[in-house]
């Protein structure tokens, strides 16, 4: 029999671990829908985590940290867009290149700025529980009391779903990723749409990075994203390029990560490496077609030579 408190802690930490993935994955979803395989989410998350933590530490205000995180990541997203859309560079190469660059730059910056002061506590985002829900036994404390950014994440995802499904903008994004030629003929500016989508991914990745550093653990560590960006891409694939399923995939990945902290507490001996690898195995099975047919946007990762 599992104690209710332990179960509540598990659910709460699954949600908390899924949230940064969801932010990044929702951003990546938009970019891939527009036809750009944005591999640099990992690097942009890392940059966001670093810039957010630094600004929060310097100003004492996590909100300014969040703002600064976003402002610093937008130029990086622009670089990704410029390389892959205007210069038509290989999207995988540019993504990995930017990830390597950001890993180096943030590590260097961290050493230069924090140096011996590392491990310094950084002012973090406030926790909050929706009124009424805070008093539910067990759940109120462990599940619903979360960083407010988590609730903002859910709102953002609902907003993205609405825009993508019901507005002209959403339709244009879909068109740019499915058939750029046809979209261009009907008067849409494909490149501009793709630029917008990649910049939006940058915005979401920055929030995801800030969630890690100033939302969750209140510090920055070198290379702290450790593959979360790639996991977000895996979530989009696992979600078959649909937002609802991507959300479920993030929840699943979050739970798999939470399990690795919970199982030892329950006395279950499962190698933690197995659990950490689990999301990647699931994603591989998904792209291998074991979870139904995969329907990627047809022009995904193909540069568009026209306007």
């Amino acid at each position: 029999m599992i104690e209710p408190e332990l179960a509540a802690v598990f659910i709460g930490s699954s949600i908390r671990l899924a949230a940064p993935l969801l932010l990044a994955a929702a951003g990546e979803y938009v970019s891939e829908r527009a036809g750009v395989l944005n591999m640099s989410v990992e690097g942009m998350m890392l940059a966001g985590a670093f810039a957010g933590a630094t600004a929060s530490w310097l100003t004492g205000s996590p909100l300014l940290g969040l703002l600064f995180g976003v402002l610093c990541v937008l130029p990086i997203a622009w670089l990704q867009a410029f390389l892959s859309i205007t210069l038509r560079a290989n999207q995988i190469v540019t993504g990995i290149g930017i990830n390597i660059l950001m890993l180096g730059a943030t590590t260097l910056g961290y050493r230069a700025l924090f140096g011996s002061r590392s491990r310094a506590e950084i002012p973090g985002l406030d926790k909050w529980a929706p009124p009424g829900l805070a008093d539910v036994p067990y759940l109120g404390e462990h599940v619903f009391t979360q960083t407010w950014l988590l609730y903002a994440t859910l709102l953002l995802v609902v907003g993205i779903a609405w825009v993508m499904r019901s507005t002209a903008t959403g339709l244009a994004v879909h068109a740019a990723g499915m058939s750029p030629q046809a979209a261009s003929h009907s008067g849409l500016k494909v490149r501009r749409i793709r630029y917008g989508a990649v910049l939006f991914t940058g915005f979401m990745s920055a929030l995801a990075g800030c969630f890690l550093s100033i939302g969750d653990i209140h510090t920055f560590t070198e290379g702290m994203t450790s593959g979360a960006g790639y996991l977000a891409i895996a979530a989009v694939i696992f979600g078959n390029w649909k937002l609802g399923r991507t959300l479920l995939a993030c929840g699943l990945f979050g739970a798999a990560t939470a399990l690795q902290f919970q199982l030892p507490a329950l006395g279950v001996q499962v190698p933690s490496a197995l659990l950490i690898a689990l999301p990647y195995v699931l994603a591989l099975l998904a792209v291998g077609g074991l979870v139904g047919r995969q329907v990627a946007p047809t022009a995904l990762a193909q540069p568009y030579a026209g306007r």
Binding site: G97, I100, L101, Y280
Partner: protein, 360 residues
Amino acid sequence: MSWRTSLLIRLRPSPALLVSAVAVLLAFGMGALLIALMGVPVGEAVAAFADGAWGSPYALAASLNRALVFMLVGLGFILAERANLTNVGGEGQIAVGGIAATAFALWAPVAGLPWGLSFVVPLLGACLAGALWGGIAGVLKVKAGTNEVIATLLLSFIAIWMVYGSVQSENLLRRPMTSSATLPESLEISEATQLPLLTGDASMPLHAGLLLGIVLGIVVAVILRRTVLGLQLQATGLNPRAARRAGMPIDRLTIGVLCAAGAFGGLAGACMLQGEQYTLKAGFSSGYGFDGLVVGLLARGSVPGVIAGALLFGFLRSGGINMEMVAQVPTALVVVIQGLIIVTLAGAALGIQRMEARKP
């Protein structure tokens, strides 16, 4: 045309070479600027870098051993690239190669084989493991139409954690625990299973894998330039439908070439383990596969390009480590330089293509 003029024409720097050289120089310039900004005398840092990269027989051997790993992964990459397949799974292929090499080397019957076989069998085991890992992506591509970039990337992450798992469990490769302080790593492999040192002298630990690398470099160059197989791969890459119409077994070619690329990665993992580290540790391949991938990408399909890139990255890594120890410049600087080189060259690719197309 006399051989002299034809040689001269060949030696005329191509746009690609020029752009690459400029990109590398720019990145180095940027690195020097960052060093100066950090308040470290640039001369001192450069001296430390050179010392660590090629300043002593030991440093030179370490750089060349690293370069070999990058070269093997890069060779596998350009082989697959010829068929228009992008193998980004070098990291995972190195990891499974390392696991297999360790498992074979620690297996008593193998360690007891006559000298020569005792280190060749683990090497072959690693090739097989790497081929299997690359082959999964090939089979998925052929059977399910899965993009090989995504498959090889996911396989890499799985393999990295497999290394962690295999050294964490005593039932697998973890050394028997003698105290609670026993690290999660394998036993050291026996001397018979280690790759012999070319100089026979530990002050210059250049291992025999280098010879293998040279041979394989020639083999890949010949395959790409002079064989039917190279042509078939190219045809498959350029227009799979036409290639199939022409009777080429493109499914088999696709799976086969990804297996081959994987085998190169596995071999690279075995060389790291049997040539340098001798003990399997979690994270033993930290980033080598991704560096090798970049070397392959930058080589633009040529074996000399792979060799040049591998040497560059090998020296960068060794020099960077020494720069951190001696001049207190974080190795992250070298990572920044690598990132800059990749981004610049990727961005310049379209321009290079156009310049090359304009060439008579």
